[in-house]
Every structure is written in structure tokens, then in C-alpha cells.
């Protein structure tokens, strides 16, 4: 009669076990921790560092609850927040500025859960506190910058090929080159189309005018490169803030989302995100007399004494104040190897940069040139190679005295040191940590009391069947939390609201089933057939009503942003889990309870009222 085959019970049991395991980490909470990571690949986070940190803590009589090397960062757990802060200061003193030392919270769940990849849900900013920025990249500025560069390129190429031209003007996104006659127009067109193939050329034969525009695919490329470069610049900058788990993502074609959990100092965050870094190329002064003067604190006029950070420790370097070249002229920088197989950085300059570079290198063979990153008035020498020969063509290779990791860092700094285009903050949210905690509590309480009210009502109204409904509703919560944890979805306050609403809606399926069973009983159907018919007939309606709800959920998911999306994800998953738990799990319970009784005369489904005939 009402018996499930063994495999159905097994499916339910397995689902329950998985749900329990993956929901568990959410109940353990979090412990305070300090996270040590490195900005540069050349400064590794390894067991040696772990030893240093351990010693530093021992010296201060701080005993950590655990040390873990996790990928590229070292995490150290502590009992309480006070020890955490003390430990951070101790580690900071011991390690210095080369590492990022951030306060963090680590899940307190036991190791065996972590081994099963069962982690707690990631809490959104509204629940844990922090800052959210939405930045818009000024695309027109990126294109303007490119057009200016092309104007310079055309000027130089025409000069090199000795084609006489009048003026080169930029008119929005169009470059106009005025020429003298038909011959020079043709010659100019030849030169430009050969050397600058990314431009679309049009010649106005009557006025001897050549107009150049960017190919549409070039425009798209400039825009996507600008966003990418800004994102990598932001990564470098955010690292400085010492945030654990920052999120920096592209959102739409020209927007970037930055989320910094736990950061309270918004002014500083804004400052660091919004600043502009520049790269400068200057000549190094290696004259021993001047260098020792400078080191003695007596810096000669026209010179700067700057820091150079390498894996061999910090050193000072004396450079001239004159800037030969800036980062604006760098098109690209990539790490690679030179002809001898030694690590190198390959830099691609634009044509202005190329001609300046040729001149500078021709005049300074045998001397050193410094690549300097200037950020917030603080200049740091990235690298200072020796010039071996005149370098033309705009392809520069820096090699010698670096390892592959250093080459990578240098390339990254050269590429990402400055923003490709200015950005504006178009949305900002700050949530204090106390508000986050309150939001969790409020969300949890409303779900709990709502659930309790529904459960009590169901048990009173439907008796044993009400108990089954309440249990399957509880299973629904577990399944939903487990799936969200497995997906590592970000839980927000609207997400908690969606969990509550999912429960409120899920009970509909059980009400449908129970009412239908009552109705069958009312019509004089024997109990076992009533259960069968009740579940059978209710299924089609449950499916229909859930599909319509799901349509609404999906539309929210597709078009929603921010809080709406957080709601929609949980809403959609909740609909799916409720169908499983309300139908399969509650039926499993009913079958387990009643299935073995052959002579079943009544069902404990509350009072079934029959109208008097």
C-alpha cells in the first residue's frame, strides 16, 4: 500500500545526511584570527615565515590556537579579540612592511568538516559590516588618451617618412590630418595605414584632409583593457588596506564593484582607491662621492634619494630629479625571459616613448636608469637596470639581477601602477559591524518565530500529519542552508528574508496535501487510498503553483541587482528544496508511520467534519 521502495528512503536519508553535514559549519561561528600574506611573489609565505611568526608570538607570551598555511597566506587563530589585536601588533613589529597583516575571522568548525569542503556561508556586507563601492570607469577619458597617443604617433611617423603635413587635430573621436596636396595625402595615407593598422582611414580628396577613427573592435579592446587595468591597480591598492577577502569584480561593461568586509575607515578606503599612481623613468647617479654624501644625509641639489625594495632587502638609490619618461608611454609590460634564459620584463612603449627612450639610452650607455613608482607623494624604485646599448623600436627588455617572481612583480607594477582611466564612485554603502550583528539576529529571530508559529498551528490543526508537515518544513530549512553553503553563496539580509518567505510559502504544499486527504476521507475513501489520492492529486497543483513562483524568481535573478539578486537566489533555491521536502520527505514520513499497518481505520489528521446529509 503506502510503502516506499528502499531506494526512496535511501535518497531521503542521504539528502538529510548531506544537508546536516553542510549546514553544520554555519552553527559553529567564527574565531578571531590574523592573516599574513604578501603583496609580491618574490616575498614568499612559507614554513620559514611560519617559524618567524611563532617566535614573535612566543616572545610576547601569546599562544595561538593554531597556525595554518593556506595557499599564499598564513592564518593564525586566537581565543579572543584582545589576543588577536596584541598578536597583530607583535607580528607587525616582527615582519615589517613587506607583508600584509590583516585581522580576520575564521570559521570555527572542526577540521573534519573543512576536509569535506563544508564551509559556512559567506556573509554579505549588510550582515558582517564593511564598505561597498561601485565605481564607474570614465571610458571617454580612456579613448581620449588613446586618441592623443595616436595623434603623436601619426605626427612622428609622417616626420620619419618625410611627408609634409599641416595640422593634426583631434575632434572628438576623430583625428584630422591636414595635408598640402593630393600627393602628400596619398603618401600620408600609405604611411599611416602601414604603421598604424588599428586606425580606419578616410581621405577627403577635395580638401586634402585625412581623417582617422578607431576600429570598433579597437574601441571595445581599449575599454575592456581599461577596466582590466583598473581592476588590477585596485587589487594592489586594496592589498595595502590589509583587508581579508576583499572582492574586486567587473560589473557590467564599465563598472567595478569593490567590497571590503570589516573595513570601518571609509575615508582611508576612498583615499586609497581613488588615488592616482604614476610611473617615472629617471637616471641613476652612481658617482660614489655624491652617493656617500646623500647617504650621510646631505642630498645634492637636483637629486632624490629613494628606496629600492628587492628580495635582498631594502637599499637606497640616488636618482636625478629630471623625469625622462612617464608611465603614460608604456603600452604593456610582461614578464618573460631574455635570450640567455634569465628572467626579464618586456616593456612595450608607444612611439613617443620609443623615440625618447632611444635618445636617452643612446646618450647614457653604461649608466643605470631607474623605474620609479610615485604614489601619494612617496616614490619607490621598482628596478634600476644598466643600459647596455641604444634601444630603439619601443621594445625594452629589463633583465639581470632578478628572479622570475621579481620579474612578475615588476611587470605587474609597471602595468598596474596607474589607472588606465579615471573612476568615479557612483554607489557607496557602509555598514557598521554592530548593525551587521543586529541584522543577523533580527533575520534569525523573525525566521525562528515565524517557523514556530507555523509548526504549532500545523500540529494543532492537522495532528500527526501536522507533525510530518513541520518536520518536512524543518528539513527544507536544512536543505536550503546546505545548498547555499555548498554553493558558497553570499547570504544577505534579503537572503534571510527569502529563507523566511520560502518557509511561509513551502507550507502551502503540505496544506494542499493534507486538505486533499481530508476531503477524500470526507467522501468515505478508506485511509490508505485517501493518502494515495491526496498526494497524487495534490502533486499537479503543487507543480503548477511552484512553476509560476519560480518564473517570478528567475526574472528577479536575471534583472535584479544588489539586494534583489541576493533575495532571488535564495528564493529560487527555496522553491526547489520545498518541492523535494514537502512532497518526498513528508510522504516518506507518512509511509514510515502508516505504511506497515494493514488494517488502518483512521488517520490522525485532525477532525474531519462531514456535512449532515
Amino acid at each position: 500500500m503506502n510503502r516506499y521502495p528502499l531506494w526512496k528512503y535511501l535518497v531521503i536519508a542521504v539528502a538529510l545526511i548531506i544537508a546536516t553535514i553542510y549546514t553544520l559549519p554555519n552553527f559553529y561561528g567564527e574565531t578571531p584570527a590574523v592573516q599574513v600574506s604578501s603583496t609580491r611573489q618574490s616575498i614568499p609565505v612559507d614554513t620559514a615565515l611560519m617559524g618567524r611568526v611563532e617566535e614573535a608570538l612566543k616572545a610576547q607570551n601569546i599562544s595561538p590556537d593554531g597556525l595554518y598555511l593556506d595557499g599564499s597566506s598564513l592564518k593564525i587563530r586566537f581565543k579572543d579579540a584582545d589576543t588577536q589585536i596584541k598578536a597583530r601588533d607583535a607580528i607587525q613589529r616582527a615582519l615589517g612592511d613587506s607583508y600584509i597583516i590583516a585581522l580576520n575571522l575564521l570559521p570555527a568548525s572542526p577540521q573534519w568538516l573543512a576536509d569535506l569542503k563544508a564551509y559556512p556561508m559567506f556573509l554579505g556586507l549588510d550582515l558582517r559590516g564593511g564598505v561597498h563601492f561601485l565605481l564607474q570607469v570614465d571610458m571617454q577619458a580612456a579613448i581620449d588618451k588613446t586618441m592623443e597617443r595616436y595623434a603623436g604617433d601619426i605626427r612622428r611617423e609622417l616626420k620619419n617618412k618625410q611627408v609634409r603635413y599641416g595640422t593634426i587635430k583631434r575632434n572628438g573621436n576623430v583625428l584630422e590630418v591636414q595635408l598640402r596636396d593630393a600627393d602628400t595625402l596619398k603618401a600620408a595615407q600609405n604611411v599611416v595605414s602601414r604603421t598604424l593598422p588599428t586606425l580606419v582611414l578616410n581621405s577627403d580628396d577635395a580638401n586634402y584632409k585625412l581623417t582617422a577613427t578607431l576600429k570598433p573592435e579597437e574601441v571595445t579592446k581599449i575599454q575592456s583593457d581599461a577596466v582590466k587595468q583598473n581592476i588590477s591597480t585596485l587589487h594592489n591598492r586594496v592589498n595595502e588596506l590589509g583587508t581579508s577577502e576583499p572582492i574586486i569584480q567587473q560589473a557590467g561593461p564599465n563598472r567595478i564593484v569593490v567590497e571590503l568586509p570589516g573595513i570601518q575607515d571609509t575615508a582611508r578606503a576612498k583615499d586609497i582607491i581613488g588615488r592616482t599612481a604614476t610611473l617615472e623613468v629617471r637616471m641613476v647617479e652612481d658617482d660614489q662621492g655624491k652617493v656617500s654624501d646623500a647617504l650621510a644625509g646631505n642630498i645634492p641639489a637636483g637629486y632624490d634619494l629613494l628606496d629600492e625594495a628587492t628580495s635582498r632587502g631594502d637599499s637606497k638609490i640616488l636618482v636625478k630629479k629630471d623625469v625622462e619618461l612617464t608611465g603614460d608611454n608604456i603600452n604593456d609590460a610582461q614578464a618573460g625571459f631574455d635570450e640567455n634564459g634569465a628572467p626579464a620584463v618586456h616593456i612595450n612603449l608607444d612611439s613617443t616613448g620609443a623615440s625618447i627612450f632611444r635618445q636617452v639610452t643612446a646618450e647614457n650607455i653604461g649608466k643605470r636608469m631607474a623605474m620609479i613608482l610615485v604614489e601619494k607623494g612617496r616614490a619607490e624604485v621598482v628596478t634600476a637596470p644598466v643600459i647596455r646599448s641604444e634601444i630603439g623600436g619601443g621594445r625594452v627588455q629589463i633583465s639581470g639581477s632578478m628572479n622570475p617572481a621579481e620579474a612578475n612583480d615588476t611587470a605587474l607594477l609597471l602595468r598596474a601602477g596607474s589607472l588606465a582611466a579615471p573612476m568615479n564612485i557612483i554607489e557607496e554603502r557602509t555598514v557598521g559591524p554592530s548593525l551587521g550583528k543586529e541584522n543577523i539576529e533580527k533575520g534569525f529571530h523573525s525566521t525562528l518565530w515565524g517557523f514556530a508559529a507555523i509548526a504549532v498551528f500545523m500540529v494543532i490543526y492537522y495532528g500527526v500529519f501536522g507533525v510530518f508537515s513541520a518536520i518536512s518544513l524543518a528539513v527544507n530549512v536544512f536543505l536550503l542552508l546546505a545548498i547555499l553553503s555548498i554553493l558558497q553563496a553570499t547570504l544577505t539580509l534579503p537572503g534571510i528574508a527569502a529563507i523566511a518567505l520560502a518557509l511561509g510559502m513551502a507550507i502551502d504544499a503540505n496544506v494542499l496535501i493534507n486538505e486533499r486527504i481530508r476531503e477524500e476521507l470526507r467522501n468515505g475513501v478508506p485511509p490508505h487510498s485517501a493518502i494515495q489520492a491526496g498526494y497524487g492529486h495534490a502533486w499537479a497543483t503543487i507543480l503548477d503553483s511552484n512553476v509560476t513562483t519560480l518564473i517570478a524568481g528567475l526574472a528577479l535573478l536575471i534583472f535584479g541587482t544588489g539586494p534583489v539578486r541576493g533575495f532571488a537566489v535564495v528564493h529560487c533555491i527555496g522553491i526547489l528544496t520545498s518541492m523535494f521536502s514537502a512532497v518526498l520527505v513528508s510522504r516518506g514520513l507518512v509511509n514510515l508511520w502508516y505504511g506497515r499497518r494493514r488494517k488502518l481505520t483512521s488517520l490522525a489528521i485532525g477532525q474531519v467534519w462531514k456535512p449532515e446529509k
Partner: protein, 311 residues
């Protein structure tokens, strides 16, 4: 326990004229308030800056208002939020001024007046973002309607699809009308709630339509008029409708009571939506379906002899 002991079918369809009139009046009122008062859009839609601050003791709203006004930032709104110590300050976007530093400026002034003030939350939204949200919200709403209509037309019949959607839109407009009338803040979360109501309250119509279709197929009800068949369907599903909505409403009210200011608007939209959802699916959708001329022939397709399982 059985709450609903209905002996005879309730002649809902004969009240058709009355219920449609009631609906029409509430609908027109809602549209009227939407048009005259308009929605009190949150900063997410309008752009601007919202600060939430907390004082140790009761906050002096007038003092805060004067302090904020002294900055000459445009029309600022200062109101208490839930309790007397929590205050919300809303500032409009002003072209030319960088809103990024705005919050620090305001906080600096407030801190000077009372050192215990704490910044709880800052939301800044640029002007362009809001327009996008409105258009995305509308697209989502239209998409939800089209999707539900297509599904209902496929599963049932176009007359049912049309009447269900009209009933639903009626609910949505009334929710929006309430928000306009009471000047409650209409935020993105409220929008999510409204769209969720759109998906939820169509359930009601589905359940009733399922039953109507089943009744059309029952040999025992062959001679009955369409109106009395619909009456029977609504009466039979009455108990379930009330209990389900009551359960969902308990959850939503719990959110309204325990959820705090952050969930208040959302819970409010759902509370109203669920109450009107019962009314409209029973007393709006079915009369419209009847009025559109739904009949036995539309429901029973000879090509599909398999009986659908329904409640």
C-alpha cells in the same frame, strides 16, 4: 479541528458585480494615490546619500536637522528610525559636489555636537544608477507577467491566463497604492517583495483554476452552469486558501515584528500582497474568467483523454 464547515456552495459568482465594483474602486483609488502622491522612492532609485546614526540616548531631531541644514546641502530629511536613538538622514545628490566626502562632513558636525553619535550605515547612490534600476525593475515585472501568462495559457487556457494576470496586477497596483498613500519608502527590497507577491498570489488562481477544470470534467456536474461550477470550485478550495495564506502571513508578520527597519518595507509589501491575494484570486480572477466566456468546451480537449490530477 476543522474551521471551515461549509454545507452548500457559496454563490460567489452572483456577487460578481459587487466584488468587481469593490475591486475597481480600490484599484482606482490606488492609481489615484500613485498619481497624486507618488511613490516615496528610496535613495537607491533617486540617488543621494543616506546616513544612519545612533545616539546613546534619545536624539534631538530638530538639533540634527538644523546642523545638517547649516551645511546647505539641499533638501535634507531627518527622521527617527525604529527607536528614538536611531536617526536616518537623507541628503539629495547635488551636481558639482563630490558625495564621497559628504558623509564625513556631516558626521564631523554631528560628532562636534554630541560625541556619542555613531555611524551605523551610509548609502550613497549616484544619479545614473537609479534610472537603470527603474528600467530593470519594470523589465523584470513585465517579464514575470509574460512568463506567468505563457505558462498558464499552455497549462490551462488563455482566458484563465488573462484573468489571473489582471487579478495579480490589481494586487500589485493596490500594494503600490498603499505605499503611495502612507508615503512608505519604496526600496529595492520592497520591489523584490512586490515581484515575489506577483509569483505567489498567482498560486491561488492556479489552485482555483485546477479545480474548475476538474469540475468541468466530473460527470456528476455535467448539467450545471459554468457559474455554479466555479462556485463549487472556490468553495471546495476555500479551506486550503485561507489556511495557506494564514500560515504565510504568520511568517511575514513575524518578519514585520522581529525584522527591524531593514525588513519592514519588504514585510509590509508582502502582508498587503497576501491579504489582497486571497481576495483577488477568488473574487477577481474567477469573475473575469467567467466574463471572458470560459466554458466546458475550452477545458475538455478530446486529444488529451488523460485526466489531470488536481486538488
Amino acid at each position: 479541528m476543522e474551521l471551515f464547515r461549509i454545507k452548500r456552495d457559496i454563490p460567489f459568482m452572483s456577487y460578481g458585480r459587487l466584488t468587481t465594483a469593490i475591486s475597481l474602486i480600490t484599484f482606482i483609488l490606488a492609481v489615484f494615490f500613485l498619481a497624486t502622491r507618488g511613490l516615496n522612492y528610496s535613495v537607491e532609485f533617486t540617488g543621494g546619500t543616506v546616513l544612519e546614526v545612533q545616539y546613546q540616548q534619545s536624539a534631538d531631531l530638530n538639533l540634527i536637522r538644523d546642523t545638517v541644514d547649516s551645511l546647505k546641502l539641499g533638501e535634507a530629511t531627518v527622521q527617527s528610525l525604529g527607536s528614538s536613538s536611531d536617526v536616518m538622514i537623507r541628503l539629495p545628490n547635488k551636481p558639482g559636489t563630490t558625495s564621497a566626502q559628504l558623509s564625513e562632513k556631516v558626521m564631523g558636525l554631528l560628532k562636534a555636537k554630541d560625541g556619542t553619535v555613531q555611524l551605523r550605515k551610509v548609502d550613497f547612490v549616484g544619479p545614473s544608477v537609479g534610472e537603470e534600476l527603474v528600467s530593470h525593475g519594470l523589465t523584470a515585472a513585465i517579464l514575470v507577467c509574460l512568463g506567468i501568462m505563457a505558462y498558464l495559457a499552455l497549462r490551462f487556457e488563455w482566458r484563465f491566463a488573462v484573468s489571473a494576470i489582471i487579478a495579480n496586477m490589481h494586487d500589485v497596483v493596490i500594494i503600490l497604492g498603499c505605499f503611495a498613500f502612507f508615503r512608505w519608502e519604496f526600496s529595492l527590497t520592497v520591489l523584490a517583495g512586490v515581484l515575489a507577491v506577483l509569483g505567489y498570489s498567482v498560486n491561488e488562481s492556479v489552485v482555483v483554476f485546477d479545480r474548475i477544470r476538474e469540475n468541468f470534467r466530473k460527470p456528476g456536474l455535467r448539467g450545471k452552469s459554468t457559474a455554479s461550477i466555479i462556485d463549487n470550485a472556490i468553495t471546495a478550495t476555500m479551506s486550503r486558501t485561507i489556511i495557506t495564506h494564514f500560515s504565510t502571513e504568520m511568517m511575514v508578520v513575524s518578519m514585520l515584528v522581529f525584522g527591524g527597519p531593514a525588513l519592514h518595507g519588504f514585510a509590509m509589501a508582502l502582508t498587503i500582497g497576501i491579504v489582497f491575494g486571497i481576495y483577488s484570486s477568488v473574487l477577481v480572477a474567477s469573475p473575469i474568467a467567467l466574463w471572458l466566456g470560459v466554458s466546458r468546451e475550452h477545458m475538455i480537449k478530446p486529444t488529451k483523454p488523460k485526466e489531470e490530477a488536481v486538488v
